[in-house]
Assembly symmetry: C2
Homo-oligomer: 233 residues x 2
Amino acid sequence: MAWSPNTWKTRYTLNYKGLSYRTEWVEYPDIEALCKKIGAPPTEKKPDGREHYTLPVIHDPRTKAVVAGSVEIANYLEATYPATPTLFPEGTRALQHGFYMLVRPTILSPILNIVIAPVWQLLNPRSQEYFRETREVAFGKKLEEIASADDWAALEDGLQRVKECLDANGEGKNLLLMGDRICWADIQLASVLIWLRVAVGEESEDWKRLLGLHDGRWAQFMAQFKKYEHVDI
Amino acid sequence: MAWSPNTWKTRYTLNYKGLSYRTEWVEYPDIEALCKKIGAPPTEKKPDGREHYTLPVIHDPRTKAVVAGSVEIANYLEATYPATPTLFPEGTRALQHGFYMLVRPTILSPILNIVIAPVWQLLNPRSQEYFRETREVAFGKKLEEIASADDWAALEDGLQRVKECLDANGEGKNLLLMGDRICWADIQLASVLIWLRVAVGEESEDWKRLLGLHDGRWAQFMAQFKKYEHVDI
């Protein structure tokens, strides 16, 4: 069973909508072959120009649709099951994308650096080999040399910015970006924080310190998503 | 008559709401004394810790309120005249603040660098002296040495990011952040672009080139605000 951080996002999207689903875990070296077999398109280009196949991918047995990429999956589900709650309330797509662009360099990047070595330890041997080889090429260094203390400082700074955004909503509405409903940009942030929690460990000093930052704001933020933290395997 | 870029923002806010108003122009060296006289609070701290008084400031003769700062003014007007259109639709304050944080370093900062020398030329002599002295201390260099070609490159890159956000709204809804209505974050962006246009000149090659970027996107964006470009003096 391969552990892919993106898979965690899929789970939220699906659960939030109340749609039933089943998760299949895929070892890293098997992702490309599986995608080709079920007709899932590549989502990115590798540095050398070759197609890159990534998870999450969903297969909807009702419509036979195969959709790759977390935004594309969210869009597909919104369009196909419109009676479910939307993650993109009318008029908020550009603003939510802007929020994602704000947190990508300030929060996602430092978390990516921090988790990469501990994530490797969580993988099965087949995936470990693939993961190390591809990531060390991408980063140009050993997995164990990617994280630094600067990443934690950058992450804290990034969270401070998000807190400032949330506080613009005013007292009592500052735990979610849109105040009283979960939107796609909240899930982007929650999912990378869960990624971090899984990688460094819920009992680690680092995680506990993060939850204590900004008067416990991030503990309160994460609590909003607790009820969706369940995987149907 | 002092020209303050912030004053332009005020005008939008007021006009958008359909409230009548009258603009009083203030020479830079007179701003602090005027604010103290009418009871407008300082909005910032100077690097040396002293209070800093800035425009825009409004005085509402109906309520006797005196409000300083463009966000504070927008909030005051929204709360005091709720029957007017809102710049902060329910649930969008945090997202709009996030957008502002995205464009502050990527668009506002390069524009600030670009306009500072040409703005000086637009001022009356009394304000020129004050403006040069205070800005040269703040930047640590001559006004004429602040802008560089890098600022134009940074600005183009910043606008490319905003275009990416707008395009997330989809065809036909990609001229304003919320699709079919003007919000506060649009006005933030439009107002600094007008600042740039006034500073470099509508007929300048630089401005024409900017309007031609990204398939004329910024000419289309600015056109959305044309009807508000009127100052009641």
